[in-house]
Amino acid sequence: MKKNGILLNFGRDPLLQKLARVMKLSFAIILISCLHVSAGGFSQSRISVDFQSIQLKKALSFIEKKSNFRFLYNEDLVINAPPITLTMSNAEVTEILSRLFDRSGLTYQIMANNLVVLKNGGAKRADIQVSGKVMSATGEGIASVNVLVKGTTTGTATDTSGNYTIMAPENGTLVFSSVGFKTQEIPINNRTTIDVVMEQSDESLQQVVVIGYGTSNRRDLTGSIGVVNPEDLNKRMAANPMTALQGNAPGVQVVTSNQPGGSPTVRIRGVGSFNNTSPLFVVDGMFVDNIDFLNPNDIGEMSILKDASAAAIYGVRAANGVVIITTKKGRYNMKTRVTYNGYVGVQKPTGNFDMANGSQYAAMQLAKGIPADSSKVTTSVARFGGSGLNPTTNTDWYDELLKDNALMHSNSIDLSGGGSTVNYTVGLNYFYQDGILEAENNYKRYNIRLQLEAKPYEFLKLGLTALYTNSTQRNPNRDAFTRAYTASPLYPVFDETNPVTFPKKYTSSGTLGYNNNIFNNPVAVADYWFDRTKGFQVLPTIYAEADLIKNKLSFRSQLSQRYGSSLNQNFLPAYFIDNNQNSRTTVLTTTEDRTENYILDNLLTYRDSRGDHHWTFLLGQSVREERYRSTQVITDSVPTQEEFWYADQGIRRTDGYNEAGYRNASASFFGRLSYDFAGKYLLTATFRADGSSKYQEKWGYFPSIGLGWVISDEKFMDNQKIFDMLKIRGSWGKLGNDGINPNPGYPEVKTGNEFSGIFGSTGGTNGTLITGYRIDPIYGTIGWEEVVEWDGGIDFTMLNRRLKGSVDYYHRQTRDLVFERNVPFTGLRKIGNWGRVNNSGVEVQLNWADKIGKLGYEIGGNLSTLKNEVVDLQGLNNLPSGITEFPTRTSVGQPFNYFYGYEVEGIYQTQEEVNADPIAVANGVQPGFFKYKDQNGDKLLDEQDRVNLGSYLPKVYYGINLGVNYNNFDLSIFFQGLGGNKILNINRGLRQKFPDMNGDEEFVTSLWTGPGSTNEFPSAFATTQTWNNNASSFYVENGSYLRLQNVQIGYNFKLGNQDNSASFRVYATADRPLIWSRYSGITPEVTSPGRLPKDRPAVAERVQATQVSSYGYDQNVYPTTAVYTIGVRITY
């Protein structure tokens, strides 16, 4: 690039320089398409020289040519100078001069206009005293940083608080270096105070990791903590940071919800509760249930605390693991940096949408040999065309429901900077994701992030962060997806001849004689529906931090809050299709909720060392309160225009108003000791006492201890070359789960009209209520759940830092498992702490990175195994749950909520085979029916023959990443998958209730037609018989999959060759383009659809424990999309 750019030289006025940079950035953006236009340096002060034993005069003349420096000197001085040998690339001229004359015995002085005057060096100038502070990115002093005067042996090191003092030439250069940080060279330029912010080097072992209520060096950790590189999150095009993390972190299972704005399911190290299994998210100190509101771009640091040693500091909230996030922060003495990141892409539905077509379905209907079924075919012919038994109608309902592509885009801009006493960040993001359902469904989100920290006094820091989120989600009617699976292809979407339908002429499935609510017109199901949630949330945090004893004792007080509110409007228009699908009046359900949470933390941190003993002691106290209130109003007959959607514009239902809410308070005290001896022997001990308002027993105590040994620092490891770093660690601790609905612990007396008898309802009188009440015969008391966890791990870096990895084994036992136990003789259940469950497994993470010439490459992977086993249910034989017809159960020795039913051995092929089997004879079985395995061989098929058919929990999940970079290009490929889990295909199972339904093409075209035709699928007639619709292994399918999760190709370049020139990254990404799976349904990634606000129960829910787990059931699942995006990131 040319050195003389088109921009003016603004000299050294800092304000003008900044202005110039801003202008250049503007230019750069405007001229982005003209890449060869230079936005070169504002001063030609950096040049490269390569002097090989040449005369000083020649060297000076070279510099004059290459830069705008001019030399004034006495010829005699130069002629006698020794020849020069000096190689420096892209160096400041002042620095080159300093090196040049250092060895020549000459001195020089830079005058105005870069005129350099050379003098005889007889009078050597005196050194000046330079002092300052060396800080980390977070502004903390760094001890033991080497400070060296460049080109000399003069040096010193910073003290424990990062301060240094050194004597150096006023035009010299200081070199700051320390293990784990990038070495920096800073010209003194006559300054006497130079503060330095050290940047971390790529060496991850020295990385500062956020832990609970503080930070730690990665090297000093004794717990199992997953550190997420925010860059990895930004490679995935997702609204939700946890979605972006899928497959990336060992021990963390993420199940993506594909619906726009949908919340993913996150499980850390298995499932240890029937209640809350979601980890605790801590965003800038505030506890939140999910981070749906967070823009992935806003994340500065993210850690996943997996084991007890790491998580126990969060006590009763920590049982499901903790995800700590700090948003991006400005730094002191940091030049302003602007980052823009934007992408735009299209989503395409992916999956198996192949349903049986019209003729395939007709063939199945006819093959059943039941008049009511074949009549559907003949009616279709008569009504919608065709001849004989060959209807021509062939509606592909998925095709009607799904868009070919849907838009998604995101724009983020981020500004951060800092002076000596203030630093700040401002971030803005707008995200939009359209849904692929052919109806209004999408998600919009605005984020604003503000952060400000000031140091009014040297000992005091005051700060504020505020995250503001505003989102609008249009929820589709997910019933449409099931309807599309079940609906017959034999009727068209529209039927103009039907006089009674309004407002649109949708075909009634009743036209063909379907009279079951499930065979609605799926397109109308999606269409006659409006559901929108508008919400906002503010997360303001203020804090003050004081150094009580400089660099040793500090006190921090922080108030974190969360204010949120959302308004959901569900509007059903008045419409009529048939008796099963209609809404006689418009119905508006408005649900508003409001959240007010706060946490007040007070932390005292004492850090000190004596010789090789180093310790940090944390003492903390915390108070927190959560308040939630939700109000719902249901109104009939409101006008259709949105402006009139208020309860008093229609007829409010008498029972259509309800309110629910809660208040939970807790107070906590906690402490942590981190100790190491010579950095080799590590100890972390934590303790937390949590008091909660939720339970009858108030206080819980959660200790943990972690030990580590950095073997590679031992003397005997000095001579080996394999390991650069090797650490073993182990931990034990207790954690709690208070994500269980509070329980009053006394029998409820139900009163009011609902519980009063009617008397005198006779032929002539209406009857009256006589005040009554009812006492619940069953009630229980509960406390929190407790987890006891062991973890052993190895961290290593080997083969010259090319191979890094860690291996962990964990064993966590949830005790006092809370669930509602069935009580004999009643549908009522009794809640209590009734059992224990173990989760154990191995987590491995490996990464190999190397370079071959200019080609850098990386290959890595992570793998987690999970064994989930219930070990105690306090004598309960089993705990049934799930969908009644296709139940799951939980019993000792088995995993949580395994699918339960008969094992299909095959199909009875012949009447002889039927006759020979007493089970078949006893149950009226015919050829073409399922043959269930008689597990106990008693020639009787009964409850004892039902077995574990598999669990929704994967036994293994993994991620594989490949990356290469060459010059400015980089390419990364990421695979993600899981195995060992099962899916219950409820769509197929619906045939139990609705034998007339359509089905997937494989099922409908593979039905048994005679001996030998198939040993897997029943006959068409058999599909109508209850025998074949029992919960069985036929409906439980392998849910394993391997998915190409992400491919990104990027190109990085700079405009200008300055350090601070704008750098660009342009990239193209494909998310989830390919999947390999044997599952017959649409997608093997099945999330349980979250409940819509409108479906909240009318009466405040006292039902405890989400015991009816819908995990693993494929029902109404929003199809997965592949996303193809292009994007650009500009940092300046």
Binding site: E748, V749, F759, S761, T762, G763, G767, I775, F825, L876
Partner: protein
């Protein structure tokens, strides 16, 4: 600096002192602890009133639709309607496939069990509550003590009836009178259960009101005569087909007492007996009461989907439903063969032959046919449109569910007398002539049983099936459906056996 330390101290002190209050407040939006004032004897009927409401409910209670299906389909009078696959297990139950895995794990069986026994658990709580009131009745306050005993007896009558219904479906079941023993309590035999019922009813009858239910101080509450009928039914069950059984004397004695009280009479119009005019008539010994309180909007208390379940499908509300049950061709033929036109029109609601053709009811409503080709629906559940409170559209709303009626008393009395070699003509012909049939002199046992079949056809408590079992006729009558001795009862749900190993 000092200031900060002071703030620190202040905060910790604040937290330490504020803590107890901070954590000890009541939980928000949870039912507050209700304090029942057991010294206020004017509220002593409240637990009883609450029990009546529970008995009329679905979970728990007597009115759940699937329970109705399970109770009735095993007789030769009721078949499962709707499309064959829709709750097809009811057909398997009708066909006595008691080992069919679908039947064994049928959700409806568990539902039936829990609805009835769940009610029993509530009643046991209510009885304990009445004991708490009793403890506050001053010595010498005989009036309140009598009321307390009367109220307890009402609870015990309903509890006995719940046991009767659960035993009719599952056979040997436990007698649950103590909620603390539910995880271990063993089964009693069907005979033991009925013997217990007889003892319970004997005790209760001493304290209950000597009144017809529609004359009771709480109109429609069970009275002494309800207890006597339940006693008679229990005795008849034990006596079975053994004419020499002393329990037939018990039947005669109990039914005679009801008849001789002179308080009861048959409602003259059999068709209207099951409609609004027949609610809580002088024939009623127990009805589940519901009401829309005569208003077109607002609260309407209904037996859940009890009526909808039986209503004709593919029709317009208010005369519409799921069409889940269908009177059988056998019962239709039976009525026709004996020219029993009143009971035929009352018991069977006819629909058109196709989805577009209509049949007209005796009350003038048009009932359209359906895709399943089902033409017969449950007539006793039918409520004509013109009897409904204007504005209401729920099928059967404002109607009561008839449980026990005087016709049963008369026919049991006749049967017992015939079995004992006495003349049963008077009670027998009272029932027969109400149905506009000619009286018979010297009625035979089979004629009484046939009359029972006609009178109670398609009612909701499994009377026909119980009679077939009781008289031993099931082995022949139900053989075409797969019945054989030993298949009388549906298996107790495995889920219940898992919870109580003694079941």
């Amino acid at each position: 600096m000092k200031k900060i330390i002071n703030i620190c101290l202040f905060v910790s002190v604040l937290v330490a002192t504020g803590c107890s209050k901070f954590l000890d407040r009541p939980l928000e939006d949870q039912a507050p602890p209700t304090v029942i004032d057991y010294t206020n004897l004017t509220t002593m009927y409240s637990p009883v009133s609450g029990m009546y409401r529970a008995a009329g409910g679905e979970n728990p209670g007597f009115s759940h639709w699937v329970d109705l299906g399970i109770r009735t389909v095993r007789g030769d009078d009721v078949a499962k309607g709707s499309s064959p696959g829709d709750q097809g297990t009811l057909t398997d139950i009708k066909n006595f496939q008691n080992e069919n895995p679908g039947v064994v794990s049928f959700w409806g069986n568990g539902n039936y069990w829990n609805d009835h026994f769940g009610l029993v658990l509530y009643i046991n709580e209510a009885l304990a509550d009445l004991d708490r009131y009793a403890a506050n009745i001053p010595a010498g306050d005989a009036a309140n003590m009598a009321l307390n005993n009367q109220y307890k007896s009402e609870l015990r009558v309903v509890r006995a009836w719940a046991h009767m219904l659960v035993s009719r479906v599952f056979g040997d079941v436990p007698i649950v009178i103590d909620n603390n023993t539910i995880t271990t309590i063993p089964k009693s035999t069907t005979t033991e259960i009925r013997q217990w019922i007889i003892r319970e009813m004997d005790t209760a009858a001493n304290f209950l009101e000597d009144a017809r239910p529609n004359q009771a101080s709480h109109v429609g509450a069970v009275t002494k005569y309800t207890a006597l009928l339940i006693k008679a039914k229990a005795a008849a069950d034990i006596a079975g087909n053994d004419n020499g059984s002393p329990y037939w004397d018990t039947v005669i004695q109990a039914t005679d007492e009801i008849i001789n009280s002179g308080k009861f009479s048959l409602y003259p119009d059999f068709y209207q007996l099951f409609k609004i005019p027949g609610k809580l008539s002088n024939e009623a010994l127990y009805e589940l009461q519901y009401s829309d309180f005569g208003t077109s909007t607002g609260t309407s208390v209904t037996p859940g989907a009890f009526f909808d379940f039986q209503g004709p499908n593919n029709n317009e509300p208010p005369v519409a439903g799921w069409g889940f049950l269908s009177p059988t061709a056998e019962i239709e033929n039976f009525f026709q063969s004996r020219n029993d036109s009143v009971r035929l029109k009352t018991t069977i609601l006819y629909a058109g032959a196709t989805p577009t053709t209509f049949a007209t009811t005796p009350s003038g409503d048009q009932i359209r046919g359906n895709a399943n080709g089902q033409t017969r629906f449950m007539g006793k559940a039918y409520l004509p449109k013109n009897q409904m409170t204007p504005g209401r559209t729920g099928y059967g709303s404002n109607n009561n569910v008839r449980v026990l009626r005087f016709a049963d008393v008369l026919l049991l009395n006749a049967e017992a007398k015939v079995r004992k070699g006495q003349n049963g003509d008077i009670p027998f012909n009272a029932v027969r002539t109400r149905a506009k049939l000619n009286p018979i002199t010297g009625v035979s046992l089979q004629q009484v049983l046939d009359e029972r079949r006609a009178e109670f056809a398609c009612e909701w408590w499994g009377e026909r099936y119980n009679d077939l079992i009781r008289t031993g006729q099931a082995a022949t009558v139900l053989a075409p459906n797969g019945f054989a001795p030993g298949k009388e009862y549906v298996p107790i749900p495995q889920s219940q056996r898992d919870l109580n190993p003694n079941l």
